[in-house]
């Protein structure tokens, strides 16, 4: 009898431990919480917005490095301040809102981003926030946030600046939530001609500027979310002033002419999509500052001129997945060793048995489909490449392109989303320097320069990214 009771207690303890283990595994931060089916909708949209300056208080006395071109370039002044902008967006489906933050900076490593997410954990628990997404505009005139633009072998990151960026991002998110109001969401696009430039063949990139516009029911000022795929480097390499580049002037004009607030998201900008130097009516090149302002204003005018807007159903669906990809770039490895790069790595496969941990998301805002990509994606990986183009490594069969994975050619790529792992290069055109791979630019047999490879994690990223996206889509399809 006594033995039977003991046996029962033993079994109960075993079952209890099993249940606790399963619950622990499921609730581990790396697992995704799935609350019902992927696609759900509510009665209306709720949106809030806030923006905050992130220029350091001691900018005049401190040393800050401009990120984007050569190393060790000190900032000499401020052309326009860097901002962090936050949006709270809720479809009122009962699943909670989604936070979308855009930071005027070159990029944020996942570890810095995870710190911000950790700071927002209480907020997320209190408000039911289901996803925090942080994007970088990729301005090449901002203060270094990745660390690789300091003097040689030294980090260009300033701790106080990074702390300010972190705290202001959190404050902006809280303020955006507090400022939330009900309304409707519209989306439309304009084709941008004669501004974009693709420095590397094939000439594949999106010419569309998308605008997602929030219109509050109470008639107060709205919000224009602009999505456009180009490197904000209109100020070019000679500039030493801190600036958000053309998105600043895009936003200012939108605010001046419409009264609406503004937030900017970048697209698939790898390989390498930027804006042309503009000319005056006589065909003379404008100076870089005038050209930058004009670029922003032209894009603002295009955004404000959008007439094909469609009403977006209140349905915001998002699914994210973390994935690992081998770290093959020895420069990144040494920068990581030196504490310059704060990219998150774990043990695993690859040349150095180290894998970069990153994430990709698939989202639907109404009927608008989007992929959040953790770096600078070559547009060829999202859209189709013409058969006539033969890359430098034609034997490397590429992964499925995004359009094939999603099953639709109409979607947006949000670049530099929730991480910045560098360029994501198509395997069929991945080419390294013979003696100094990842250090010097390679030149293939046709003489084409392969710069982007030197700023990429490795040749596997495109495959691993596509596989992760496929996994999301399969998961959604199975629900």
């Amino acid at each position: 009898m006594r033995r039977g009771v003991l046996c029962h207690i033993h079994n109960t303890i075993v079952i209890f431990i099993l249940v606790i283990s399963i619950v622990s595994i499921i609730s581990f931060p790396g697992c995704r919480k799935v609350n019902g089916p992927f696609r759900q909708s509510g009665s209306h949209w709720t949106c809030g917005f806030d923006a905050r300056e992130i220029v350091p208080d001691n900018f005049e006395t401190g040393t800050y490095y401009i990120a984007g071109y050569g190393v060790g370039k000190e900032a000499t002044g401020i052309l326009d301040p860097q901002f962090v902008r936050a949006v709270w967006l809720d479809d009122n489906s009962g699943r909670g809102g989604v936070v979308m933050v855009s930071v005027d900076c070159i990029g944020l490593a996942r570890s810095d981003l995870e710190n911000i997410r950790a700071d927002l954990m209480v907020f997320a628990a209190e408000t039911g926030c289901r996803s925090v997404n942080i994007f970088s505009t990729h301005t090449h005139a901002g203060i270094d946030t990745l660390g690789i633009w300091g003097p040689v072998l030294r980090s260009g990151k300033d701790e106080d600046f990074m702390n300010k960026l972190r705290s202001e991002t959190v404050s902006a998110v809280l303020a955006a939530y507090d400022a939330r109001t009900d309304g409707e969401l519209y989306a439309g696009s304009a084709i941008i001609e004669d501004i974009l430039n693709d420095s590397r063949d094939p000439q594949i990139f999106s010419r569309d500027l998308y605008r997602i516009r929030f219109v509050p029911f109470d008639g107060s000022c709205g919000l224009q979310m602009i999505h456009f795929g180009a490197h904000p480097e209109a100020l070019r390499s000679e500039n030493t002033l801190v600036s958000a580049d053309f998105p600043c002037y895009l936003g200012r004009r939108i605010k001046d002419l419409s009264g609406d607030e503004f937030i900017y998201f970048n697209g698939a900008i790898g390989g390498l999509i930027n804006t042309r130097r503009l000319t005056d009516e006589n065909g003379q090149e404008l100076d870089v500052y005038a050209s930058t302002v004009r670029t922003g204003e032209l894009l603002a005018d295009a955004a404000l001129g959008i007439t094909d807007e469609e009403f977006l159903e209140p349905s915001l669906n998002i699914r994210s997945i973390t994935f690992n990809t081998p770290l093959e770039n020895p420069v990144f490895l040494i920068e990581k060793f030196l504490g310059i790069l704060s990219t998150e790595v774990v043990r695993g496969k690859g040349t150095y048995n180290r894998m970069v941990v990153t994430e990709v998301s698939y989202a639907e805002i109404g009927n608008l489909k989007a992929v959040f990509v953790p770096g600078e994606l070559f547009p060829e990986l999202a859209y189709r490449t013409p058969d006539s183009f033969i890359g430098a490594a034609p034997d490397n069969e590429g992964p499925l392109i995004f359009g094939e994975i999603i099953g639709d050619d109409d979607f947006l790529v949000f670049g530099l989303a929730n991480d910045e792992i560098g360029y994501i290069v198509p395997p069929g055109d991945f080419y390294l320097h013979d003696t100094l791979p990842y250090i010097e630019n390679g030149r293939d047999i046709t003489g084409r320069r392969h710069y982007e490879e030197t700023n990429s994690v490795g040749s596997r990223v495109a495959y691993d990214l596509a596989e992760a996206l496929e996994e999301i889509m399969k998961e959604i399809a199975s629900e």
Binding site: V152, L153, P330, L333, I334, K336, F337, L338, G339, V345, V346, Y352, N353, R354, T435, L436, I439, E440
Partner: protein, 133 residues
């Protein structure tokens, strides 16, 4: 017999602890040594990172090795010159092996020092980096 094992245990623990301290202290302070030998800023900077390194001293190896040497040492009753030479060689080999193993598995910011050396050494030696840095 009991005292014999006790001696070996104390010997093994003391040696392992000493090696542990020595290896860690030396690895953390390798930068000035490397700079004085190579006069290379890059290597000195790399080794300077070892101040905050995660050093994995092979404790298991040290314990086994020092215990084995302890058995040989404490079995002898007469302390001859050969005994001291043997003790010295044992200590040196134990330190050297522990040092090399520790260095190989030393990690800074989740990256192995051995990987960084493998990347940099051939480049520095061939002079290929001179035009880059």
């Amino acid at each position: 017999m009991k005292q014999f094992y006790l001696k070996i245990t104390v010997w093994a623990i003391a040696w392992t602890f000493t090696i542990w301290i020595l290896v860690r202290t030396m690895i953390r302070n390798l930068a000035p040594l490397v700079f004085s030998v190579t006069e290379d800023d890059v290597l000195a900077e790399i080794f300077g990172q070892l101040h905050g390194a995660v050093i994995r001293t092979p404790v298991f190896f040290s314990v086994i090795f020092s215990a084995a040497s302890g058995v040989l040492i404490f079995r002898r009753n007469r302390k001859t010159a050969a005994y001291y030479v043997y003790g010295g060689i044992t200590a040196f080999v134990l330190f050297l092996v522990s040092f090399v193993f520790s260095l190989y598995f030393t990690e800074v910011n989740q990256v192995l020092l051995s990987d960084v050396i493998k990347v940099l050494y051939p480049l520095i030696r061939s002079g290929l980096l001179e035009g880059v840095l």
